[in-house]
């Protein structure tokens, strides 16, 4: 086996895996706080990519600068979705119903994007998208490194928010026991709405990096959501750390097996790992019964 190819595969696993982790973060946060499985997360990532595309192509705004617009925009989109559709879900069937409702939302967004941008695939372009730097003969693409840094920064910010702020206390209290949280004066409904907004807002960053590394159209969301759901199941639904580890494992294991045995086996290898983990630890690597946000 070519050693360079092996090192490249490991590097790609970590860098690309962190990108998937960034996209899965919102999904796991929303589930952790609201018990909602947001299957629209894939199309929201693509929406984030298209927003960056529109700003870049029509207004000439740099992809990273554009995040200052796309992140708040998607936060508002999240709030609207939560207020209009998800806030109405109540009772023991809430989680199951959320799958149907968010799927409907996904179809609505997909149809709109197809109408606005057509189904012809596009990609985000900037001077740094195809460039790389070399360390010890190993090439590091700027965009993947930037994606990795962005993932670490955003995950750290989310941790800080959850464990070092007053709002984070409210979130964790709501998560532990909604009735008790309400009794001590926490507006549980408001906390849920804001969490959903944050969960959707982080997809703007994930979508921008994804759009710069992959040619996409609205239909690409189907590939994405299956991957994102697999990541959070492996990492443990509701766990931010689990999303990070699940994302990296997903790509890392696939890449290494691809190099050793050929790409035809890489996808299967990951799912074998998933099955083994779920047999040994059904709640996922970092999943918890009582408090899901690790």
């Amino acid at each position: 086996m070519n050693f360079t190819a092996f090192v490249d595969a490991a590097k790609d696993g970590i860098l690309t895996g962190s990108l998937y982790a960034l996209m899965a973060t919102g999904l796991t946060l929303i589930f952790g706080v609201m018990d909602i499985i947001n299957v629209a997360q894939g199309i929201l990532v693509i929406l984030g990519a298209y927003l960056s595309y529109a700003l870049s192509v029509h207004l000439g705004i740099d992809l990273f600068v554009g995040l200052a617009i796309t992140i708040p925009t998607l936060f508002v989109v999240g709030i609207v979705i939560e207020k209009a559709f998800l806030g109405r879900l109540k009772g023991p069937e809430k989680t199951a119903m959320s799958i149907l409702v968010t799927f409907a939302v996904a179809l609505l967004i997909e149809g709109s994007l197809n109408m606005i941008f057509s189904v012809n695939p596009v990609q985000l372009h900037a001077w740094y998208v195809n460039r790389s730097f070399s360390v010890g003969g190993i090439h590091f693409a700027y965009i993947y490194v930037a994606g990795f840094v962005l993932a670490v920064v955003m995950l750290s910010a989310l941790y800080y928010m959850l464990y070092r702020t007053r709002f984070g206390v409210s979130v964790r209290a709501s998560l532990a026991d909604q009735a008790s949280a309400a009794l001590v004066g926490i507006d549980v409904r408001r906390v849920s709405t804001i969490c959903f907004g944050i969960g959707v807002a982080v997809t703007a960053a994930g979508g921008m990096i994804y759009g710069a590394t992959t040619t996409f159209n609205a239909n690409t969301s189907y590939d994405l959501i299956s991957r994102l759901l697999t990541i959070i199941v492996l990492g443990g639904m509701g766990s931010l750390g689990g999303a990070m580890l699940g994302g990296v494992l997903l790509v890392f294991v696939g890449n290494i097996v691809g190099v050793i045995a050929g790409p035809i086996w890489s996808t299967m290898a990951y799912y074998v790992l998933l099955v083994i983990v779920l047999l040994v630890r059904p709640q996922g690597l970092f999943g918890k019964q009582s408090a899901r946000v690790a």
Binding site: Q123, T215, V259, P263
Partner: protein, 418 residues
């Protein structure tokens, strides 16, 4: 409990009902062969308007609609206005079967045109053949489609297995001092792409071009970086990529550039033929020198093709180089069926199938079209096309070398990112 007589009566009635159903099913095609005066002729088509092949599906839709408009402008088919009944299969080989069954049995279409890609054409043609319908198509040229030995399928485009022959012959014929010494063959496990690479590999290996890698990846892969990195690590001078779409080619090109790798020769089985969609994805500068095999391009000298391209640009805008080859293939499907309908003086699918198997030569935007016993069109010439320059507007025929319409090949391909 059944008595003997009652049992036979029940079995008899059951057999009669079953026979009636079979007769109804097998003759439903024939029932649509006659049309009342003034009634439109309905053509059923399943296309990938979403999913992996949606870019190609939309281009096919444009080609079919362009043809239908032209036919209707000139009075329709045998005086009947053409209406297209197009449904989306979301690029699914399962959905495409359901669609054609519905089009024939519920919508009662008179004729069927093919979907996009060999992957979908085979199940579609099998489904349609059960109803006795002809399936003329423009994007199902893989050997797997014809190995099924269906009597009703006709592909107006080039059979895919030999698509890379002119390219491989050209590389092999280069003077030894210029000839690349190493090649990497990497392909999706798709019936359209996979058969093409071994043919090229055999020719190039015979010329002493060493194979440094040979990889097949699953069609459902979405992250191509590790595969592309593995190719780049082998540093081949020629990369032959078996791809069905723009995203795959774009992903490989991006990963190559990020790895600081730029082969002297880069050809993809499909993707670069997608006109402006390809340019938008990879950037005009990076397209310079990229090659693709095909049997048609927007600047083809064929007068029918020129007329169609002018109409396309009038309706959709763009440049001749930016017109997707799928448009021409779809248009040619319509032309073939129109000529068969006119020759057989009706919409009887059995007669249309016999006519197309008769060895008759037809004229289309793709050039002369003639089908062999399997429904392939082996008389079509394989060409190689190349993007040249950095404006994204110059898509030219470069192979076969010596053909009056072929221009000089850009070789070696300019280095990406410079």
């Amino acid at each position: 409990m059944y008595t003997k007589g009652k049992l036979f009566r029940t079995l008899g009635a059951g057999s009669l009902a079953l026979t009636s159903l079979v007769v109804m099913a097998t003759t439903s095609g024939a029932s649509s062969s006659t049309l009342a005066k003034g009634a439109p002729v309905k053509i059923g088509i399943s296309l990938s308007l979403s999913g992996d092949f949606s870019g190609d599906g939309l281009a096919f839709q444009a080609g079919y609609q362009l043809w239908a408009n032209d036919v209707n402008k000139s009075g329709g088919l045998l005086g009947h206005k053409v209406t297209l009944d197009i449904v989306s299969d979301a690029s699914s080989p399962t959905q495409v079967v359901t669609n054609y069954q519905k089009l024939i049995s519920t919508d009662k279409v008179n004729l069927t045109f093919g979907p996009f890609s060999s992957l979908l054409t085979l199940p579609a043609a099998q489904a349609v053949s059960r109803y006795g319908y002809a399936m003329v198509e423009g994007a199902g040229g893989a050997p797997s489609v014809f190995n099924a030995k269906l009597h009703n399928v006709f592909d107006v485009a080039l059979p895919v297995a030999n698509s890379l022959v002119p390219f491989a012959t050209w590389v092999s014929s280069l003077p030894k001092s210029q000839r690349p010494t190493t090649a990497y063959y990497v392909t999706s496990n798709d019936p359209f792409t996979q058969p093409q690479l071994p043919v090229a590999q055999k020719i190039m290996a015979k010329a002493g071009i060493k194979t440094v890698g040979n990889q097949v990846f699953p069609a459902e892969v979405t992250d191509f970086t590790p595969i592309a990195d593995k190719v780049a690590a082998a540093k081949p001078q020629v990369v032959v990529l078996g791809a069905t779409d723009v995203p795959t080619v774009s992903a490989f090109m991006q990963a190559f550039e990020q790895s600081g790798f730029s082969p002297k020769v880069f050809i993809a089985t499909a993707g670069p033929d997608q006109g402006s969609t390809f340019i938008k994805a990879v950037g005009a500068a990076n397209a310079d020198g990229v090659m693709v095999p095909n049997s048609w391009y927007g600047l083809a000298a064929n007068p029918q093709s020129k007329k169609m391209v002018a109409e396309y640009i009038k309706k959709y805008g763009g440049t001749p180089a930016g017109v997707n080859a799928d448009v021409a293939e779809a248009y040619a499907v319509g032309q073939v069926v129109a000529q068969a309908v006119n020759a057989t003086k009706g919409f009887d699918n059995a007669k249309i199938i016999s006519y197309l198997h008769s060895g008759v030569t037809l004229q289309t935007v793709l050039g002369k079209t003639k089908f062999d016993s399997l429904g392939e069109n082996p008389y079509m010439t394989a060409y190689t096309f190349q993007w040249q320059g950095t404006t994204g507007t110059k898509f030219v025929q470069v192979n076969p070398v010596g053909d009056p319409n072929s221009v000089k090949i850009v070789f070696p391909k300019p280095v990406w990112g410079k």
